[in-house]
């Protein structure tokens, strides 16, 4: 792709991504885009899956998504994708909840309502591992996230796996017990801003503008100033809750407010291991394509240049270079 001036990125509503909306509304994004002589249009898509699909189909240059979905949808769909910003990992935002039972072991034999093939499904698989159960021991019922809270209210539903803000809504209901959450597998469910690798290569300005704007917002959020509080209030409002609710959600999210932390995390030795778990999960559920010959079909590359899977078909790249620029304060 040739260098260009106008870029479009999209995001969907989730606690760790709310700053994107704020960036666009507050003009921070425009400030940074102007600095690098480009235009960045930020669009919110209410439906998470639809936002990834749009990105994968080429409608957007960047999109917010989890590490797992980045591997399965755009990378699996042949779109070479770079994780530009590692924003946070879920630290309790995703949880397994049982009704009237207090131990994870009791899940055996139950019907479990969750969004199938999502990170919830992954969380459940990891949770079952810890108590020596396998997916055959339970029955998975696909349930749309929008209906999860209402579904939990019915007598048919005895266990759910879901994410925030649904978790906090459900836990507040009588008889609900959180028996496992993502805090027990820290760093495995990672929320990213990914961009098209080719676009990024041809337009480094895009990477710089996005990273610069993002960490300005991060700094604002942690500043403790009235402006910072106002910013968080706006994010809360945009996600349909209030400041207290938003803070509660933030509490179970391990945000990388400082770029250094994000760079460290991306450079860490845990990340390839996590991605190996993820790709095995995806492969065993047939998500890498119904006729994917092996778990190695799609290659991933990491900060240190190591790869996982087919090195000739690297489609997902973890590259902390731009975040490092932010950490170094050279943006």
């Amino acid at each position: 792709a040739a260098p260009k001036k106008d870029f479009k990125i999209c995001w969907s509503i989730y606690v760790g991504w709310m700053p994107w909306g704020y960036l666009s509304d507050s003009g921070i994004m425009k400030k940074w885009a102007d600095k690098y002589g480009i235009n960045v249009e930020i669009t919110r898509i209410n439906d998470y899956v639809e936002s990834i699909n749009q990105y994968t189909a080429g409608g957007f240059d960047g999109c917010s998504m989890t590490n797992m979905d980045a591997l399965s949808i755009p990378a699996g769909g042949g779109v070479d994708t770079t994780a530009l910003i590692v924003g946070d990992f879920s630290n309790g935002n995703d949880a397994v909840i049982l009704k009237d039972k207090a131990a994870l072991k009791d899940i055996a034999g139950q019907k479990v309502n969750l969004v199938e093939l999502s990170v919830s499904h992954y969380l459940l698989a990891r949770a079952l591992d810890t108590v020596g159960l396998v997916e055959k021991d339970i029955a998975v019922v696909n349930t749309s996230d929008a209906d999860m809270v209402a579904a939990y209210g019915t007598s048919d539903v005895t266990s759910v796996v879901t994410w925030n803000p649904l978790v906090s809504e459900i836990v507040a209901m009588p008889g609900a017990h959180k028996v496992f959450d993502s805090a027990q597998i820290p760093g495995e469910i990672i929320d990213l801003m990914v961009v098209n690798t080719e676009t990024l290569k041809d337009n480094p300005a895009l990477g710089k503008a996005l990273v610069g704007a993002w960490y300005e917002a991060m700094a604002l959020m942690t500043s403790g100033t009235p402006e910072g509080k106002a910013a968080k209030e706006e994010m809360a409002k945009a996600s349909g809750t209030d400041l207290a609710g938003f803070d509660a959600q933030l509490a179970s999210t391990a945000m990388f407010f400082e770029p250094v932390k994000a760079v460290d995390f991306t450079n860490g030795a845990e990340l390839p291991k996590t991605m190996d778990l993820v790709r095995n999960f995806l492969f065993s559920h047939g998500i890498l394509g119904t006729n994917a010959p092996s778990v190695d079909v799609i290659g991933m590359s990491f900060a240190d240049g190591s790869t996982l899977g087919d090195a000739k078909n690297v489609k997902l790249r973890f590259d902390p270079a731009y975040m490092a620029l932010a950490a170094a304060g050279t943006l």
Binding site: R44, I45, N46, E50, A146, P165, E169, E233, G240, T241
Partner: protein, 292 residues
């Protein structure tokens, strides 16, 4: 032979009490109709109040069936307190955005129904050409085609309006085409003997004859149209009645959802009533005054 009108020897009395009529002949007075019509609504209201009170008694923070007071205060907030961010009154901004989309979508569908429906119903060649296709398109669930639609048209208003139009148009097209095919052949033959060509027949015979049906079609299509509007707004938009419902649904904020649904219903009922009036004005012949 006598030319004087007969009768009058014994003058019959007028009936004293209202006679018992067969079910299908017993008409209902205006007041009676109002009363009867209000009954089901009252029943639903009472059932709701009862269930709500019961649930709230068990769990005062129950969100599923909020009390009327809770709903009213939530609704008032939305209708009268300006949003901090944009300064808009949320309810009105949502309503405006949604109505524009709805009417644009239904408008496009109506136009398509009129053009295609009349062409399919009236011209055998067009019928052979398009009817099979429309029949098939009619049954393709538009929601399954959403990704392609959004990618082809982007996420803007166009895609939403197209979704609504695609959602309701095929049924309307088929219905109008059916009606046109049901036109009495005598009228078509007669028009031709008077020198009409295909185009003037469309203008002066077919259109006026299907107008009342078209309006009925629009009335029937408005239900599904709201559905598609809500579905479209749930996927990509930043305001609109459907967006708001989608946004608060994950928190099970029934105190916002229910007033919004009631508001949508009210808007829809008003639209329906306006369409009925419109039909009376445009096609008085299709609504003979009942004199029973």
């Amino acid at each position: 032979m006598n030319a004087v009108p007969e009768g009058g020897a014994e003058v019959p009395r007028a009936p004293r009490r209202r006679p018992r009529l067969r079910l299908i002949n017993a008409t209902v007075s205006r007041g009676g109709a109002l009363f009867l019509g209000a009954l089901p609504f009252a029943a639903v209201a009472v059932a709701y109040l009862f269930a709500s009170a019961q649930r709230l008694a068990v769990n005062p923070s129950d969100k599923l069936l909020p009390s009327p007071a809770q709903m009213w205060s939530a609704f008032l907030d939305l209708a009268t307190v300006p949003d901090k961010r944009s300064g808009d009154l949320i309810l009105w901004a949502d309503t405006f955005a949604s109505l524009v989309r709805l009417f644009a979508g239904v408008g496009v569908a109506t136009l398509a129904a009129l053009c295609l429906g009349v062409a399919i119903g009236f011209i055998p060649r067009v019928r052979a050409f398009l009817l099979p296709f429309v029949t098939v398109v009619c049954v393709i669930p538009p929601l399954a085609m959403l990704p392609i639609l959004f990618i082809a048209l982007g996420l803007g208003e166009t895609a939403k309006i197209t979704l609504i139009a695609l959602g309701v148009a095929p049924v309307m097209v088929r219905d109008i085409a059916n009606r046109v095919m049901e036109l009495p052949p005598e009228l078509v033959a007669k028009a031709q003997t008077l020198g009409a060509n295909s185009w003037t027949m469309v203008l002066r015979l077919v259109l006026p004859q299907v107008t009342p049906r078209l309006i009925t079609c629009v009335r029937l299509a408005l239900g599904p149209a709201w559905l598609f509007l809500i579905a479209a707004e749930a996927i990509a938009s930043t305001e609109g009645l459907g967006y708001r419902i989608f946004l608060v649904r994950r928190y099970l904020s029934m105190d916002v959802i229910l007033p919004y649904v009631a508001w949508i219903t009210l808007l829809a009922v008003i639209t329906d009533w306006l369409l009925v009036r419109l039909s009376h004005v445009i096609s008085p012949w299709a609504h003979p005054v009942q004199d029973k």
